[in-house]
């Protein structure tokens, strides 16, 4: 299983050279630290899908002594591993440029990444190759553009929920969000697992 996670680094050797300049660009542009954490985390796991959406890759992985359960688990665990690494590297880069950031930024960046991953990973196994990038782009735009408006709309019209959230203390809010994201991530893993079990190559 570790091998499956490690393979992403071998596959993306060249892209990884882009990784540091990519982060530096965002830092120099003075982007919000939370956004930098999010973008940095997305880098490796989503690059992987450029390979994994191909039928050949699935034929290869499934012909090697791996089970389908492991292949999916490596995606979901790998995303967390690479997120942690990306957060580490990004923190160092931010520190090197004397930019201040807080644990809250890391939490928000990671939280958004996991949310995004949870929503998009299953799509890679539902759609046919070629449609996936489009689906993910739409997903991203949806999350980034329309998402907040819907949240605002809900917030304005369902005061019961907003009142409830507003009434929570900060620690409770974070714990609640973390729990919700964890649950969503786990559910997404489960769904992808089931889809992948049934997939034909």
């Amino acid at each position: 299983m570790f091998n499956l996670i490690r393979r992403d680094v071998i596959l993306q050797k060249k892209q990884l050279l882009m990784f540091i300049p990519f982060i530096l660009f965002f830092i120099i542009m003075d982007a919000h630290p939370a956004l930098i954490f999010l973008v940095a985390s997305i880098f490796i796991p989503f690059n992987t899908y450029a390979y994994d959406e191909k039928a050949e890759t699935n034929i290869l992985l499934n012909s090697l002594p791996y089970t389908r359960r492991e292949i999916i688990a490596s995606r979901y665990l790998g995303a967390i591993v690479y997120m942690v690494l990306a957060v580490g590297v990004t923190s160092l880069a931010l520190a090197a440029f004397n930019k201040s950031f807080s644990m809250t930024d890391i939490a928000i960046g990671s939280g958004l990444f996991l949310l995004f991953a949870a929503l998009t990973f299953p799509l890679f196994y539902i759609f046919k190759p070629g449609y996936i990038s489009a689906a993910v782009m739409i997903g991203f735009l949806f999350l980034a553009g329309v998402g907040p408006r819907i949240v605002l709309f809900i917030a304005e019209h369902t005061t019961a929920i907003t009142d409830f959230i507003a009434s929570l203390s900060t620690p409770a809010l974070y714990t609640g969000a973390a729990a919700a994201i964890t649950a969503l991530y786990a559910a997404s893993w489960g769904v992808t697992h089931i889809i992948y079990q049934r997939k034909a190559f």
Binding site: N3, R6, S63, L64, P65, A200
Partner: protein, 288 residues
């Protein structure tokens, strides 16, 4: 005799095509050639063997084990070569080895280097720059470097020049000196099989027509030529397919003994090549 692969009553249906009630055994220590026209179901059958497809009904067992409980143990013992390149085409062989080798408990770097030398493959060039023959050699080097007991190949010779095809056959023959190895490979170039195959499995329209040793085939199948006046409802029943012309008939039989008994010296009986057999099944079975 021990079977390495056993398909029992396997059915897999797709839109407009299906593999039906397939019973197929691959015998240990021998080369089984898997023949059939394009679209007959060769790749589907191989995918069922590799667990890339799951059967709608029936049972697939390799080394007597079930994929449900022993998927990893089974795949440890298989070396696979597919028609197209399945390796990440942007990577070089060294990186591909770094990805593939940790997957196998029995990976053997020494053997791998031997094959790389033997096949004269560059380690530092991207796979996509390889010719078809080199890609095939690269797949083969990887398939043979973990002491696999069963080598499954889907159309390994398709698109290769005759010299390399012969080299490949020589290599496979060397592998067979070790009696624990089994080779199963599909092809539509039947002359590849004349030399090395011990058993021939023939699939037509998603159904297995036969799986016989080359000797059984030579004893059962034959081309029969004679005058059309010899044919009637009774005498035709031993033919798979009959081609009538004004000059006489030519037919394929799967029961040479019966034909000899029926016609004696009135017909000419010739050896049927695998190609003859495949060709005569083209229009479907014509048992009257």
């Amino acid at each position: 005799m021990e079977n390495v692969v056993e398909l029992k009553n396997v059915t897999k249906a797709f839109k407009g095509f299906s593999v039906k009630n397939m019973d197929l055994q691959v015998k240990k220590g021998f080369v089984t050639g898997f023949i059939g026209a394009n679209g007959a179901g060769k790749s589907t059958t191989i995918k069922l063997m590799m667990n890339l497809l799951k059967p709608d009904a029936g049972e697939v067992k390799l080394f007597g084990l079930d994929y449900k409980t022993h998927e990893k143990a089974i795949k440890e013992r298989i070396g696979f070569v597919y028609d197209g390149n399945v390796f990440f085409e942007g990577l070089n062989l060294k990186d591909i080895k770094r990805i593939v080798s940790p997957a196998y408990k029995n990976w053997d770097d020494i053997i791998f280097s031997e094959y790389i030398d033997k096949f004269q493959l560059p380690l530092h060039k991207a796979i996509k720059t390889f010719s078809k023959g080199m890609q095939m050699k690269a797949s083969l080097a990887i398939a043979l470097s973990h002491h696999a007991e069963l080598i499954i190949m889907d159309e390994p010779t398709a698109g290769l020049d005759p010299i390399f095809r012969r080299e490949l056959l020589n290599l496979l023959q060397e592998l067979m000196v070790d009696g624990n190895r089994t080779i199963f490979f599909s092809t539509h170039i039947t002359t590849d099989l004349d030399r090395i195959a011990d058993y021939i499995a023939f699939i037509h329209g998603g159904e297995l027509v036969f799986n016989q040793s080359i000797h059984e085939i030579a004893e059962n199948y034959a081309l029969v030529k004679g005058g059309v006046e010899l044919l009637d409802r009774d005498t035709e029943k031993d033919f798979v397919h009959i081609h009538r012309t004004s000059a006489g008939f030519q037919a394929l039989t799967d029961n040479m003994k019966a034909v000899k008994h029926t016609f004696g010296d009135m017909v000419v009986i010739e050896r049927a090549s695998l190609e003859d057999i495949m060709y005569n099944f083209k229009g479907g079975m014509h048992h009257v």
